[in-house]
Amino acid sequence: MPTNTLNFNLPYPSGTDAPCDFDEQWCDFTAAIDSVFDTFQAALDRTVPVIPAAKLRLSAPADFVDSSPVIFDSVVFDTAGFTDLDADPYHIFINRTGRYTVTCMSVVITQATIPPGFLGTWVLVEDGLGGGDFTAMNQATDVGGGLGYFIPGYEAVLTITAGSRLSLVFTAGSIVIRNMLEAYMSVHWHSDTERPS
């Protein structure tokens, strides 16, 4: 009667098995090996050559309400169906739980009536269960002037669960309508959440 290996349950003949059964046992062995290879291949297909990633961009100035999600007008890349700009131009939707890198940028002209002032941006991650997290935060001091203020944000490692959505938020400290010159929000997966063995 065939026995099996410990880790991958690969069958092999025992000393009491009849030689005439060898071909069938061998086919069982190769089928089992194939199944193990398929499992490895499926795991690799999740990581190479494509990973889940998406980036939304605002390329033309648009008004927005301070502290509310910024609107985007283009998809720079989306490898995983994370975006639907027609249905929702504000959010990236995550459909694979994992650890992600999140980046963003807001660009405005001076917002300070009397400089100096505060300019802040971040990505809001809502988990779909009522919870939320602020990430990729950054701020700049508004000292007035005619040049644009570029405020980038970066979060190298953030655990995001499937079903979450991300939006870009900007504030200069008061709830008024402002004009965003340019912006982006980007996310890319880099690992699952299991502990290494």
Binding site: F37, L147, H190
Partner: protein
């Protein structure tokens, strides 16, 4: 590829079949191993610039990095001498994809400091466009950027930046690092310049969950 196995009536070919199974298994294992190595060794270039870059005048967006001064590779797993910035060949060699690119540096006025003057650092992404008259890169059109605005507090140590962004890059595209400042009383010197590039994914394929 699936592994073949013997038919019931062909006992005489057992040795040959075993050999064939072994060869097929080895081929499949080799393919998986190569993919695994690709997954854990993404093309990555890290550059450290070995000398300050000087003479940046006010109110003029100017390139810094590989187009200006010497560097070394603390890490580089891409064959050849490709650079993160100021190179068309880098992304021709590496191909279309999603790249994470970052830069860090320090900016200190070479002489007198303007209090509350501005520093705008940029990682800029350009695409070939022969008819373009872009002031920073003629013959190319601006596509995307990551940028950071800082204010010089006149603290003697200048301002420091560390920023990164993700870009969808096509073969022939070019990345530039630029600085624009409003310190009218003297030029700016850049030091501690480091940059990196890592290809995180292809961009044209649909991801498999």
């Amino acid at each position: 590829m699936t592994l073949s196995c013997p038919e019931g009536s062909n006992y005489a070919a057992i040795a040959k079949q075993l050999h064939e199974t072994a060869m097929q298994a080895e081929e499949r294992i080799s393919e998986l191993e190569q993919e695994l190595r690709s997954a854990v060794n993404r093309p990555t270039i890290v550059q450290t610039f070995t000398a300050p870059q000087t003479g940046f005048i006010d109110n003029l967006e100017s390139n810094f990095g590989s187009s200006v001064g010497p560097f070394v590779y603390p890490f580089n797993n891409v064959p050849g001498d490709f650079t993160v910035d100021n190179s068309d060949d880098t992304y021709i060699y590496l191909g279309e994809g999603i790249y994470e690119i970052g830069v860090s540096a320090t900016a200190v006025p070479a002489g007198v400091v303007n209090d509350n003057s501005i520093r705008i650092w940029q990682i800029k992404h350009y695409r070939p466009d022969p008819g373009s008259l872009d002031p920073v890169l003629p013959g190319f059109s601006f596509v995307d950027r990551t940028a950071s605005t800082q204010v010089e507090a006149n603290s003697v140590i200048g301002v420091k930046v560390a920023m990164a962004g993700t870009f969808r890059i096509m073969p022939g595209d070019r990345i530039l690092f630029t600085i624009l400042h409003t310190n009218t009383l003297s030029t700016i010197t850049l030091s501690d310049i480091k940059c990196y590039m890592s290809k995180v994914s292809d961009a044209s394929l649909t991801e498999v969950l």
